[in-house]
Symmetry: C3
Amino acid sequence: MSIQYILEIVGTFAFAISGALAVKDQKHQDWFGASFTAFISSIGGGTLRDVLLGSYPLVWISDITIIHAIILGILATFIFYKFLLRLRKTLFLFDTFGIALFTLVGTEKALNLGVRPEIAVIMGVFTATMGGVIRDVMTNEIPIIYRKEVYATACFTGACVYLILDSIGVERNVTFILSAIVIILLRILAVRNQWSVPRFFR
Amino acid sequence: MSIQYILEIVGTFAFAISGALAVKDQKHQDWFGASFTAFISSIGGGTLRDVLLGSYPLVWISDITIIHAIILGILATFIFYKFLLRLRKTLFLFDTFGIALFTLVGTEKALNLGVRPEIAVIMGVFTATMGGVIRDVMTNEIPIIYRKEVYATACFTGACVYLILDSIGVERNVTFILSAIVIILLRILAVRNQWSVPRFFR
Amino acid sequence: MSIQYILEIVGTFAFAISGALAVKDQKHQDWFGASFTAFISSIGGGTLRDVLLGSYPLVWISDITIIHAIILGILATFIFYKFLLRLRKTLFLFDTFGIALFTLVGTEKALNLGVRPEIAVIMGVFTATMGGVIRDVMTNEIPIIYRKEVYATACFTGACVYLILDSIGVERNVTFILSAIVIILLRILAVRNQWSVPRFFR
């Protein structure tokens, strides 16, 4: 539990950095815009999940550590952004760990609230991706899930693997780690080999 | 009740098809994007209504049939899309039945939760139109309600007719059917005769 | 209390006018689009705040006066818009009073619900600005908070001043008025002197 909590805070911190860096290419990139974008990117997915599930209070409202992790992420981006931009590969890994973690945390939380497996998968994918979607919609970009890359599909696959392992009785920590590895590997291989999801209309 | 439930499922199925077809003209039209768009289009309006009313659990979270109807709609679009695109007129009718049904179901649900008539009309229009609005915002289109067509205005008129008939004591099923006819006729006549809502600024 | 309620209704009325006027430059500016935009602009911020806080029923659902104030604002815009467009300075003042008021009302409401000061500031800023953000996202504009102007930052500063004065025991009405003056002055001075928030990336 404690390890997972630390990972969640680290994931939030990483998402805040990638959110703040996302305004780099915008014309207007003042302090407020960068902070707001970092905030939305970090908490958007989990917030949507909890609002849809009616699970109150929202995590970042009851646990102030999350807000502090975001503020730290914003400050870190401000101070080290030249260094961070050179670290794109590291950031990609951070983001990939982040989405793996957020997918499984979201799936588990939904399951614990007693919803059906199909809903738990949706909540897992939403937790990982909707922060980025809201950020992209607000900055008038095509949302990340509509870009060609395998992104949400990796989360979707990992959430399904989690449910399958869980349903056949594999121990929870093993299930969590194996599903996370699926998401992380799938995303890394997809980017390396430029995999894309099959077209819907042939 | 049973007939209305079947109609709701059919409406959800029809909205999923029109949602999946909506990515046809997008550059990126992979399986994930199409499914996501279909999902958002179908459940967006009712979800917004229930979140605003604080009515939990959300319908599609407690009744898995809705998710299954959406999945069926996505599969049907994938298999039959060439056929479906030739059927544009039939699809228009499906969509029109869908918005009529969703408007009145939304209005009724709000009334049953004890809100004022003005609020019930807003909830009816939101149920029918906000799924499409969210879909359009996410794909960077001008939202459907801002296009010149009579669309939301037909829903608005139908919801008002429902309230008037209901307040003068007309039987519920008669009220429902008459209001639905108003929405369907208004939309068909509007498209046929290219009616548009009066401009706000002269 | 009574004065604050009247101010809130006036603020809602003013936000509805600025929302309806916002469609002036859109291609499609029919009655429905203008009314919808006015509605979203007025209630969007407070709605988001209450949904995030899980505070039900939403204010505009339980108090119909708010809907009536919005309808009045739409009608006033329709009748007097030529006059209103000449009054741009007055409208700017209205909008500035509106965001000051909404910021502090939102901050206070969140505090009363027992959240931490950091969360209360976020809720205050959201109350004042997110209606405009949702409006801008829906009409495909760059959201107001990303434009160069000092806007949300004024709200943020005012909410912080409120919390500081409140924490050192200043009387509530004095705190409210002083914080409002900070927001109003900051915004007026910023527009007059073309102040902008420091860039995030140097």
